[in-house]
């Protein structure tokens, strides 16, 4: 690893209404290194990188590329300077094909200014192959899964042939084998002398791929280290400024009587013959590869998508769940994998979001009782320690972890006792993760039952009492906490074994 500085950002400051996102942050990037950017939700990682990619302007500070000061005017300019970025949130056009998205804004044209579709598609296919994933370049984005969409983002960034490549939580929606592919790619690029900034909340990845790490806390740079020279515990202390036990809290809640039973659930083309039981106080983990249909299963049980066959029993009573309404009445709560587009009304306040499904409880003669509503909401802000200026703050201004807690409160608030968590800790920092895990334990100890869909095997293994592994829309295997380990799960996930109905 050479040590010449290719980029240095110094004394960067950025304010948003009400928040200082970045305060006098300096950051230096070396040629050919993989530089991890670490920090809690809201620490300022994305903001710093968006300034580098020309998406945001900076309020103060300077940026030096190859030693000379540079003003980065806009995303296009950043591209020209050889800076590529994968943003934390998707930036794809659902109506366009994979290839069109990869070259959006940089379409190859012939002399007459006509877009050279052939070349465009060919190059796109090459890049995708190079990535080693199987995606049809001709498919519309809206037709491929979240995982593939993320890989398209990667391909798009690669197509820039950037010398600086920023990846803001690229692994969040990915499962293990895509991540492996991604890492191979990153190593190859690094060898070629490309400098990579890698943002992630998954500590294991950091040690796997990183050379150096810079930690942000509350918009300040609190230190840059060589990965090799700092252990996990110190790194986390640096990040959250306190000691944090990273081990998964031990499961104490004892498993009670059956609360949910699914028999022969089918959804044409997505789900086949799903059978399982869920008990009070139990956390049932559901693992599987990307696109294995876990979200679909959740959506089917929760009455979002119609099912073509099967019975669902809640508390031993046959339930006909044809809408989320019904599901909620039966005491279900669904934390979707995509908070922003399905979980929250971003332009409404914390209060309004939390009470939406349970609003009837605050009605007296059809009139909202603001006082009681506010008390309840403040109660949850308190008990879940949601970081917000107040109950009337718009949730759009909250960081990922705190948004997730708002969604959680929403369901706690209507006394749900069957929770479905789809990727509950996706994009959430270690601190918030720990809090959410202990909340899950608290819930189960109160007799609540939880279905937890997750792509993070450690999380599945650490939190579940029992786990199901899905493969191609059906359940390939069931494992108890004792039997389970990563290898076994993967065998079922990739369809090598089945031990289930």
């Amino acid at each position: 690893m050479t040590s010449d500085i290719i980029l240095s950002m110094s004394h960067i400051r950025k304010e948003f209404p009400g928040v200082v996102a970045l305060d006098d942050v300096s950051f230096r990037l070396q040629k050919g290194e993989v530089h991890i950017l670490l920090g809690e939700n809201g620490a300022g990682k994305s903001t710093l990188m968006k300034i580098l990619s020309g998406a945001y302007g900076k309020d103060r500070g300077n940026i030096f590329l190859d030693g000379e000061e540079t003003q980065i005017l806009n995303p296009r300019h950043a591209q020209k300077l050889g800076i590529g970025i994968i943003y934390q949130e998707f930036n794809l056009n659902p109506h366009m094909t994979v290839a069109e998205n990869i070259f959006l804004g940089r379409e190859p044209v012939n002399r007459l200014g006509i877009i050279d579709e052939k070349k465009l598609n060919r190059t796109a296919r090459e890049i995708i192959q190079d990535l080693g994933v199987n995606i049809d370049a001709g498919k519309k984005i809206s037709e491929i899964g979240i995982a593939r969409q993320q890989m398209v983002e990667v391909a798009k960034a690669l197509s820039l042939n950037a010398r600086i490549l920023i990846m803001d939580e690229p692994s969040a929606p990915l499962t293990r084998n895509e991540i492996t592919r991604l890492f191979e790619m990153i190593r190859r690029l690094a060898k070629r002398g490309v400098s990579i900034v890698y943002i992630s909340h998954r500590m294991s990845e950091i040690y796997e791929i990183g050379d150096r790490v810079t930690v942000l806390r509350d918009g300040k740079n609190v230190g840059t280290r060589n990965i090799a020279e700092i252990d996990r515990r110190d790194l986390i202390r640096l990040m959250v400024n306190r000691d944090l036990d990273e081990r998964y809290p031990s499961r104490t809640a004892e498993v009670g009587e059956e609360i949910l039973r699914v028999e022969g659930l089918e959804r044409k083309g997505v789900l086949t013959n799903i059978n399982f039981r869920l008990h009070r106080g139990e956390i049932l983990g559901i693992a599987g590869l990307m696109g294995s249909g876990r979200t679909e299963l959740a959506r089917a049980i929760y009455g979002v998508d119609p099912v073509s066959a099967g019975k669902i029993y809640v508390r031993n009573k046959l339930a006909n769940i044809n809408s989320p309404r019904k599901a909620i009445r039966l005491g279900m709560g669904f934390l979707t994998e995509d908070r922003k587009s399905e979980g929250l009304v971003l332009v409404l306040s914390v209060k309004e979001n939390i009470t939406v499904p349970s609003l009837h409880k605050y009605l007296k003669f059809g009139v909202l009782n603001f006082k009681r509503e506010l008390e309840t909401v403040n109660g949850y802000i308190e008990s879940l320690s949601i970081k917000t200026p107040g109950a009337n703050q718009m949730v759009i201004n909250l960081s990922g972890g705190n948004q997730q807690k708002v969604v959680l409160s929403k369901w706690l608030c209507c006394q749900s006792d069957i929770f479905i968590f789809d990727e509950p800790t996706r994009g959430i920092d270690v601190g918030a993760k720990a809090e959410i895990y202990s909340l899950m334990n608290l819930l189960t100890s109160r007799g609540v039952a939880i279905i937890m869909i997750s792509s993070e095997l450690p999380e599945i293994l650490g939190m579940s009492d029992r786990m199901l592994v899905m493969h191609k829309g059906s359940i390939a295997g069931e494992l108890t906490r004792e039997q389970a380990n990563q290898e076994k799960i993967m065998e079922y996930a990739i369809g090598e074994h089945r031990n289930y109905n």
Partner: protein
């Protein structure tokens, strides 16, 4: 949100005051009790339509049919009156026709999954055609004084139609801020998917909200008919545009999820004051159109620029 909203409303309110000040300076006749009442009365109909429009737009929808629906309910009610139906009943009929037309919009949008723009564009043409067909294109005129009192009568020196407007606004504000319907209106407009997953029966509430808009169209028809002592099949042409303008000037976002009732009232008054003032000054009608267009653009432009400032 609330902060922005209030600030936003405040801005528009300042705008209204500025406009009044301007006309006060320019015309000695503007700032008189009779003229102010006069403005309130002239604004009342658009203001009432704008209430429904506000609900609709907060759900990220739009209602282009409201002018035609007004005409249709008007002629049906008027015919009922002429047929000797007692006044309260006839009024109910008028409101009913409005409510039903609105509900048809709602059904097309909720269950039919039509874009609101299209559903109500179609209804705009259909309701107009029905009004003309129902009356053979002829106005239905001449009603008892007790009916006409609704528009022409005064209660405590204030025109009855102004009272109606005030009451509608108070109720609407209450509903939007203090009831389930109101809260869900925001939720649906803010993020429909999330609303559905939170167990809101979105379709049902859309039907109610578009029905409400139609109902207020019917109410507008009652006042207009009483005011003109005549119900015309060609009444209310382009009222929808005034109502939309009033709502948006009042700070309701066409993206949905944001807006307030009193903002809309201010918006409606801005348009009313403008029309009145330009008449008082005897400004040529061509110029009036230019000015009104410019004010609509100016108002929102000012607003967006202010928002940018804050970021």
């Amino acid at each position: 949100m609330m902060q922005i909203q209030n600030l936003r409303q405040f801005g528009t309110f300042i705008g209204l005051l500025a406009l009044c000040l301007l006309f006060w300076i320019l015309s000695p006749y503007f700032f008189t009790v009779s003229n102010l009442l006069n403005i309130a009365q002239q604004t009342s109909i658009i203001a009432i339509l704008s209430v429904g429009m506000t609900f609709v737009i907060i759900t990220a929808g739009i209602d282009l049919s409201i002018g035609s629906v007004l005409a249709f309910s008007g002629v049906v009610m008027a015919s009922a009156l002429h047929a000797g139906v007692p006044i309260p009943l006839a009024i109910l009929v008028g409101l009913g026709v409005g409510y039903l037309s609105g509900t048809v919009n709602g059904l097309l949008i909720s269950y039919g999954k039509l874009p609101p723009f299209i559903a109500t564009l179609g209804m705009m043409s259909i309701a107009r055609g029905l009004a003309l067909w129902f009356t053979n294109g002829r106005p239905v005129s001449g009603f008892s004084d007790s009916f006409r009192f609704l528009a022409t009568g005064d209660i405590l020196f204030i025109p009855a139609s102004v009272w109606v407007m005030v009451i509608v606004y108070l109720i609407a504000h209450f509903v939007l801020t203090r009831t389930k319907l109101g809260r869900y209106t925001y939720a649906i407009g803010g993020n429909e998917k999330a609303a559905i997953l939170s167990g809101i029966n979105v379709n049902r509430y859309k039907n109610i909200i578009y029905g409400l808009s139609g109902l207020l169209g019917g109410l507008g028809a009652v006042i207009l008919t009483a005011r003109l002592n005549s119900a015309q099949p060609i009444a209310g042409i382009m009222y929808e545009l005034d109502a939309i303008a009033a709502t948006v000037i009042g700070g309701t976002s066409l993206m949905g999820g944001q807006g307030t009732i009193f903002g809309t009232l201010v918006g409606a008054l801005i348009i009313g004051v403008l029309r009145n003032g330009l008449n008082l000054l005897g400004v040529a009608s061509f110029i009036q159109q230019i000015v009104i267009g410019a004010v609509i653009i100016g108002a929102i432009l000012l607003d967006t620029q202010l928002k940018k400032q804050k970021e």
